[in-house]
């Protein structure tokens, strides 16, 4: 009866009170531990988030690198194709060059031959001109000698 009366006015026995205080302390301790754990989890979570962000960045970079590599590979392929094309052209040009050199040599020979022919012709013309002049001189002399007696008075 007394217990009930005390409970009714909010009084408990000391033992119970002490136990309740103890329980409260334990609860508070657990709460603090839980709060600390929550804090730790939060901190871990933030670390993981940062790592995730970093990983994401790295992924982006890797993706960019891959894209760049792909571009480079594409460019390299283009260059390779172009080089092969040029090589083929060079080969053709080499063949053309050899043909041109042969043609040039032939032309030089023909030119030298033509020059020598021209030289021979010039020499022949010199000879003909000289002979014509000499014959012209002789003809004039003979002609003058023939005319002279006709002009002399006959006896």
């Amino acid at each position: 009866m007394i217990k009930r009366a005390l409970r009714a006015v909010g009084l408990v026995r000391l033992v119970k009170y002490t136990a309740a205080v103890e329980q409260q302390k334990k609860a508070e301790l657990r709460a603090r531990k839980l709060a600390q754990q929550v804090e730790e989890v939060r901190a871990d979570s933030r670390g993981w988030k940062a790592k995730a962000e970093e990983a994401h960045d790295q992924l982006k970079k890797a993706q960019a690198t891959v894209a760049e590599s792909a571009k480079r590979a594409e460019r390299a392929e283009k260059l390779r194709v172009e080089a092969e094309h040029r090589l083929a052209l060079d080969g053709k040009r080499k063949v053309d060059l050899v043909a041109l050199e042969t043609q040039l040599e032939e032309s030089a020979r023909e030119l030298a031959f033509a020059r020598e022919q021209l030289m021979a012709i010039e020499v022949k013309l010199d000879i003909l001109e000289g002979a014509a002049n000499v014959l012209d001189g002789r003809t004039r002399t003979v002609s003058a000698q023939r005319r002279t007696p006709e002009r002399e008075p006959t006896v």
Partner: protein, 324 residues
């Protein structure tokens, strides 16, 4: 000037040409001095030799230079100097240029054709052989089919060669210019030294007689022909000497504006052309009249000269190989 074996063929015939016209001033004196010097040195070195002098188109009313030589060189006892005086009618019949007064290379052909030596040296009358050249001639180490050339050293014009000696000729202080020669044709001043075996000279038929409108560069033209024919041309090494730069050098400036008027013909003619003389080259069939024991006169005969124009004798490159 005879060979040591009397009438047997000498090792060397030296062919020179000229006439009694005082060409270049004191022609006879310059000629006789050089001839005496060369004869003395060749004799001392034991080189059997003869001189063949061709007097081309002699001057009327003047004694033949051949007879002047005979008188002047009497002291050369036992020497042999053969002279051929060529009727000037040959010059008049052959020349294709009235400005030319002396076809010296046709004259040299006359000498080559009549040379008795194993080797023939065609040169000019006032050329002095050097010690080295005489030594080479004495050694006699020449090959057939090789045309030997020597560079000409021009001495200062005032040098007195009345008593020429090698010391005087070799003195570098007396040298005015060296006319260097270069392969393959060694054409520079080649008229002063062309040494070749007689058979090859005959095979080439001597100097160009087809082109008779100039006498300049006919010597170089011979080198070109020798080269084109496959002969070897070689610089003998030692030089020959000449006093002064020569008449051509003295007068060439006067004809710079009108080269065609020069008394040696037009210097611009195409002297790289190759020629083939007719078989009668060097007036080979000209009738000879004996003047004395050393001299003959070549009487004019139309049959001794070829046609006025012999265009087939100007050879194109394609037919060069046929020359040999």
């Amino acid at each position: 000037m005879t060979s040591e074996a009397g009438n047997s063929a000498p090792f060397l015939t030296i062919v020179v040409t000229g006439r009694n016209d005082d060409f270049g001033g004191d022609f006879n004196g310059r000629f006789i001095r050089a001839l005496r010097f060369n004869h003395a040195q060749l004799s001392a070195a034991g080189v059997s030799h003869e001189f063949v002098f061709v007097e081309w188109a002699p001057i009327e009313k003047r004694p033949h230079l051949a007879s002047v030589l005979r008188e002047e060189l009497r002291d050369l006892v036992g020497a042999e100097l053969r002279s051929f005086v060529v009727d000037r009618a040959y010059h008049e019949a052959l020349t294709l240029n009235p400005r030319l007064q002396f076809h010296e290379f046709i004259a040299k052909n006359v000498g080559i054709r009549r040379a008795r030596g194993q080797f023939v040296l065609t040169t000019n009358t006032d050329i002095y052989l050097s010690r080295g050249v005489v030594n080479r001639l004495a050694a006699g180490t020449f090959e057939t089919g090789v045309l030997y050339r020597a560079a000409r050293h021009d001495l200062k014009a005032h040098i007195d060669v009345t008593w020429a000696s090698w010391e005087l000729l070799e003195d570098p202080r007396n040298c005015e210019i060296v006319n260097t020669i270069h392969p393959p044709c060694f054409t520079n001043a080649s008229g002063d030294f062309l040494l070749l075996d007689t058979i090859s000279y005959h095979r080439l038929r001597g100097f160009n007689e087809v082109y008779r409108t100039a006498k300049i560069h006919i010597d170089g033209n011979f080198c070109v022909k020798a080269h084109a024919t496959g002969l070897i041309l070689e610089d003998i090494g030692p030089p020959v000497y000449h006093v002064g730069r020569g008449t051509l050098h003295a007068q060439v400036g006067s004809y710079r504006e009108n080269p065609g008027d020069a008394p040696w013909g037009d210097i611009r003619w195409k002297s790289d052309v190759v020629y083939v003389n007719t078989p009668g080259w060097g007036l080979g069939s000209a009738p000879e009249r004996r003047l004395d024991s050393q001299s003959s006169f070549l009487e004019f005969d139309w049959n001794a000269i070829g046609p006025m124009v012999h265009l087939k004798g100007v050879v194109s490159p394609a037919t060069r190989k046929e020359i040999a």
